[in-house]
Symmetry: C2
Subunit: 236 residues, 2 copies
């Protein structure tokens, strides 16, 4: 836990926060904080700063909070990800939140098993847990917006244009000739397909939608490998 | 399994391979191969090609093998990685093998717990399993060389110079001013520290050793996130 992330419910008044549960345990047992210890804190959706411990109980820690700094800049990438297997989903969400993505679009495709949409990891409390873990890791406060779109064609034709408006549209494709761009290329929408790949039909629809195929070479990667490898190219 | 990886012991003669165990199960039950089915194969340390199924038994599959293509080019990166927690180690080894790294140097540092060196995941058969999984995923045949160096200072002063000779030496450091380079910059040696970071003394020794500090921004990443994010910058 690189940051104690506070949300509105933790603030009985403007400058005082009281945390319980996992965060209180971490402050007491890992950080071994006492009254007077200063901790890195951030307010969900807001600023970063310092919390000075003013009280330590068995189940709760009270902090005097001063927030002075902006969170790190977001990564200007909209990630459009074919819904991965549930186990992979959890790790990937946490990873892309840590990397700074603020817009995650989960969609269905021919090689996305329908059962994946029924996983409990897609429910709001489970997603929220992965988001919080990802933000704490990165010392960030701004959660991403996550949307789900189970049907590929309606998603791509009716919703993707607005979701990716004003961005450079890329689709990761091991058969593409063009290497995925690197460096600061402005806002990007990056499509990553299912582990078995897109069908030829899906790739042609993506092409019609203005998504340029780009590659990281001939190797085939797992979702949890290719996502950070691609996003790493855009990190400043 | 994107590739059936064969080793010398699988070849009773030059052009015939017999596989058993996990690979035979995969060929029979996942690929549902019959006599005449053609499969992607590769020979460990050698070429890629095609294997035509000539016999399917309960426990073994026989293939007529023709090898015609070179494996994908290696990633010209020597990865020097502070030994991570055992669970992370497994995943990271598999990931960097998939990404094409051929030289992995595991070293100790102040914030590497000594107990990590006793993990069974560092033994030859366990490492070999992760290497094989990584190569199968990438459709590659060339295993990496992995060396271990528990003591930081002797490693850095006596061994690292030869291991990284002729390469650009970089060390990942969230406090660095220079962004990690991107694109094809020739052979690179990339140092990634432990999750708690290097000590100031270790960083100064790395500086003396010619390793330039480079960053991916202010965010703090987990080892299994930062390694693919950094390596992704060098993929062609």
């Amino acid at each position: 836990m690189n940051l104690i992330l506070l949300d509105d419910a933790d603030f009985p008044s403007d400058c005082v926060a009281v945390v319980t549960g996992r965060r209180a345990d971490h402050i007491r047992t890992v950080l071994k904080a006492e009254v007077g210890t200063r901790l890195r804190v951030g307010r969900l959706g807001g600023m970063l700063g310092e919390g000075t411990v003013t009280r330590v109980d068995e189940g709760a820690v009270e902090l005097a909070v001063v927030l002075t700094r902006q969170p790190p800049p977001p990564l200007p990438v909209t990630l459009l990800l074919a819904l991965p297997r549930p186990k992979v989903l959890r790790r990937v969400i946490q990873c892309v939140v840590t990397l700074g993505v603020k817009r995650i679009v989960l969609f269905g495709a021919f090689r996305v098993e329908r059962s994946y949409w029924r996983t409990p990891w897609l429910t709001e409390p489970e997603l929220r847990e992965q988001i919080v873990l990802g933000l704490e890791q990165a010392r960030d406060t701004v959660p991403p917006v996550i949307t789900t779109h189970p049907l590929f064609k309606p998603f791509l034709e009716d919703e993707a244009p607005a979701l990716t408006d004003g961005t450079r549209r890329l689709v990761a494709d091991p058969d593409a000739v063009m290497p995925c761009p690197v460096g600061d290329i402005g806002p990007v929408s990056l499509v990553v397909g299912p582990e078995g790949g897109f069908t030829a039909y899906e790739l042609s629809l993506l092409g019609d939608g203005g998504f340029e195929p780009v590659s990281l070479g001939r190797r085939i990667f797992r979702t949890e490998q290719v996502v950070p490898a691609l996003l790493g190219r855009f990190l400043a």
